[in-house]
Amino acid sequence: MSVDGTLFNKIWNRHVVADLGEGFNLLYVDRHVVPDFNGSAFTRLRDRGLKVRKPELTFATADHSVSTDPNTSDVLQILNPHVQNLRKETQEFGVKNFDIGQIGHGIVHVITPEMGIALPGLTVTIGDSHTCTNGALGALAWGVGQGEIVHILATQTCVQQKPKTMRVNLEGCLPPGIGGKDLVLFIIGQLGVAAGNGFAVEYAGSAIESLPMESRFSLCNMSVEWGARYGMIAPDQITFEYVKGRTYAPKEEKWDAALEDWKSLATDSDAVFDHEVTLNVTGMKPQITWGNSLDMVSSIDGRVPFLNNVIDASQHANMQASISYMGLQEGGELLGLTVHRVFIGSCTNSRISDLRAAAAIVKGRKVAAHVKAWVVPGSEMVKRQAQQEGLDKIFLAAGFEWRNPGCSMCLSANGETIGPGERAISTANRNFAGRQGPGSRTHIASPAVAAASACAGVIADPNQMMMQESRA
């Protein structure tokens, strides 16, 4: 029985450069990616007369600020100061920048796995809280702030306090069409938005063993939404098949050696966690949030709760504020609520399998007349793959906008917002008040739910929609 036998501790322990005492370690960073909003980290580095210690381990891409408008006249976005700054700084410091329109450009947590930048067993840091996405590969990946970015650029290391470990066992058989997004929303609904605070979380269990790679990314992506800075899944055959052949993945004899090592990373059978939870996920239904906190979540056929049973005063106040902000009724059904906007995209759900799942529902249908619906592919590679498969044509024929890669309406930092009082189904990761613009009402759900709701014009259950079709 050993705490060192967990996937998390195996990777952590092999990256310790120095012990700083009291649980703090200086960890080596194997791969570092700088997104556009952190371009000024390079400026801070220069102001101090420092260099990038390992430019070849450092990458950059513009995602948060870029316009995803397919009809923009400023194709290279030279009028965007963040994009221009990143170009200038990466050139000066000799760092590879995946520029707009190139393979490798896209949302940072979509491109790191697809380019083979994040790999099993590696430490990966990115200036974005959703860096835990990359943990799905069996990597140790965590989000960092700008001060840490400067530190990593200068030293290729990061100071971290070793967290406690938690394993979440997801047991059972998932119905078709239920994936990582539903799983993570369900977990947050069961455990709360702070349950993972101070923990590194490993997801395991029979539902994980058969979960496709891209669904694993969606699950690990939202670890931070319940407080866990790190979320991970042991690398297995599904992982290895995904990684093999990626641009920066090891090749030939290095691949064989890597594979042998990666197979040893899985948590040992006698390893001990600080905390362990088991959830039964058999027969799970699509999940959707109703409030402004991700634990305000329900099965799609559920209702907004009645508040007279909520005893905790703070919780009561938060729920009441959400019901009012979201324009809901206590006890009201979620199915059938009028939807104005649909956003399929973000580092949670913009990969090719997400777009395929949405397109399968959209095919042969039309977006409801009052709905404005967008598909924003996660990367240039996803965009090209989808176009090759004709998915763009399915979306366009139905009345969706088919846009260029970027973070877009996940956080609307690029000015792509929705209006006050408009109800949106978003496949992103946060439903905070004002997230998609002042007064915007965001429900978080899977691409399938978003696609079905776009066509129905109201919150709709994709499984019901598909069943009705097969009966007709």
Binding site: V17, G21, L119, Q146, G147, H151, K254, S412, A433, G437
Partner: protein
């Protein structure tokens, strides 16, 4: 970098749980253009802090929000509920508080990236028990003077409440001396080089040539 040795002043109380970084450090958006690029001025950062709560939709100050009330406009401490600053990695959640004048945030728990961002900016995210925080919140509302002393790691209030806490030594030293982690780590150059040499032999597949 400014050391944090002692901090004296009043505290504002915001006893809500899960206050997120979107609320603390809102982005510049729709109709306001893009986020400013580059390093932002302290006055701009201070002005944006808690935007969604501090200002009405027409941009006027919301008179009911604690930081818009006298004397809390001059607060040096903030008391908050569980999981304060959950959400994104944006460092502005820390630097906007600092620009406003708040250098010590007291809560039962913090978003972990925020916590690290605070220390790097010589601010103290102080974790205390909920019952102590509830007492401090009442004292804050009574406009009591709070005194933080990092030489002996104590927090005192005018009415005689006193609590001591512990910090990792290297973090305490960083706050006391205003030193910067980057310089400290650069002094470990030898250990970093040694690590790189060992790993290049033991796990050669991890090497990446640009």
């Amino acid at each position: 970098m400014t050391a944090l040795v002692t901090l004296k002043g009043i505290a504002a109380s915001l006893m809500k749980s899960d206050i997120n970084t979107d609320t603390i450090a809102p982005l510049v958006r729709a109709g306001q253009g893009l986020q400013p690029a580059g390093i932002r001025s302290s006055s701009e950062l201070a002005q944006r802090l808690f935007g969604p709560w501090r200002y009405a939709t027409d941009g006027q100050e919301n008179p009911d929000f604690v930081l818009n009330k006298t004397p809390f406009r001059d607060a040096k401490f903030l008391i908050a509920g569980d999981n304060f600053a959950c959400g994104s990695s944006r460092e502005t959640a820390a630097t906007m508080l600092q620009a406003f004048g708040i250098r010590c945030i007291i809560a039962p728990s913090f978003g972990l990236i925020f916590k690290d961002n605070c220390f790097r900016n010589h601010m103290l995210p102080l974790v205390l028990q909920t019952d102590d925080i509830e007492k401090l919140s009442i004292m804050a509302e009574l406009e009591e003077q709070f005194t933080l002393d990092l030489t002996d790691c104590t927090l005192k209030t005018a009415s005689g409440f006193e609590i001591s806490f512990s910090l990792p030594l290297f973090r305490q030293e960083m706050l006391l001396k205003g030193t910067d982690e980057v310089s400290t780590t650069l002094n470990r150059e030898q250990a970093i080089c040694q690590f790189e040499t060992v790993v290049s032999k033991s796990r050669p597949w991890e090497q990446l040539v640009g």
